[in-house]
Subunit: 203 residues, 2 copies
């Protein structure tokens, strides 16, 4: 488990420090979402954040840690929000709707972050990659269990595979989603809810 400057900051109590750190992370999300991780230069991130080049290295030890911080924060929040929702629900169908709605709503409010999480999933390596992988696995397990509850018994469908198909539909959204055209997010939720509930029921 790598000790990052981000985590060291949790010890500190300085308010300004976290403000700047978050503004850098937001700038990094924007630039990486646009140029890709390899294509995004630390210089452009710094410019977008209104900081000097070396200013970045006061808050992060290297470029990888920038991506790591974005992915860890985003996935952690996504998981926490989903857990919160699921804890208040009983019916399998309501839970599935919560999964879909949570993912889509979070996506719309954090387009850049989620794009960076989906598109740059393999851009990290080593300890950084492993730690993000753990959170992703937790998220996947949550979704898979909900899918399992919705699968009719004696069904041939593998819940893990169905979950992957669902993730595909959800994670592909950033490729075509346009806030001005697809403004009504509930339509997307309803659509996927319809397709996957009816689609996985026994005939």
């Amino acid at each position: 488990m790598p000790v990052t400057k981000t985590e060291q900051a949790n010890i500190r109590r300085n308010r300004q420090y976290e403000k700047r750190l978050n503004s850098i992370l937001k700038a990094a999300s924007t630039v990486i979402a646009r140029d890709g991780y390899e294509g995004a230069s630390v210089r452009r991130v710094a410019a977008k954040a209104g900081v000097g080049l070396s200013g970045i290295y006061y808050y992060f030890t290297n470029k990888d840690e920038l991506l790591y911080a974005i992915q860890k924060n985003t996935f952690t929040t996504l998981v926490e929000l989903l857990k919160e929702r699921l804890s208040q629900l009983k019916k399998p169908e309501e839970k599935l709707r919560a999964v879909i709605e949570n993912h889509i709503e979070f996506f719309v409010n954090n387009i850049n972050d989620l794009k960076v999480c989906v598109h740059e999933i393999e851009s990290l390596s080593g300890a950084y990659y492993k730690e993000v992988l753990q959170i992703r696995r937790e998220y996947f397990r949550l979704v898979k269990d909900v899918v399992s509850e919705n699968l009719s018994k004696g069904q041939k469908l593998d819940p893990a595979l169905v979950s992957l198909y669902l993730f595909g539909s959800l994670n592909w959204i950033y490729m075509w989603y346009n806030p001005q055209i697809n403004s009504d997010v509930t339509v997307l939720t309803d659509n996927l809810m319809t397709i996957f509930t009816k689609g996985i029921k026994a005939t």
Copy 2:
């Protein structure tokens, strides 16, 4: 419409020339699929192809043209194969199966190419991007029409959106597909066929 060295080659009749060109393209697919387009260096592509660095520039004018050639070849073949399949089918359901089967089968046989097409869709720009976009649009239209035929009348679902959900499930496969585990491709086809046919039927 950009005139590429690839296209000039079509005029030439030298057999060795095309052999080398294709071996470079294959090497490029492998490297770009592994490192991403920005992360892939022309030097590594050259090394993988067993050619000197400047050898690449004898066959391609620049790095972008490498990506362009891969995407154009791949999408064109994908579209041609689908057209061929669809022309022999009448029933909407059979056509939808052909769409799914064609995409998955082609994917399994050309993992690197398809990964480069899906993951590096936004890495091109200008004329190169536009021309690939045209073929992608053609592919999308083919799929959308088949989806439309399978949608019950008086259905609320937008065929374009349903097609995008399907593309999501299909294009996400490269993130988890393992030839040793998911060797039986027909399972994936059957799964998606089941989910999407039942999922979009009127209740």
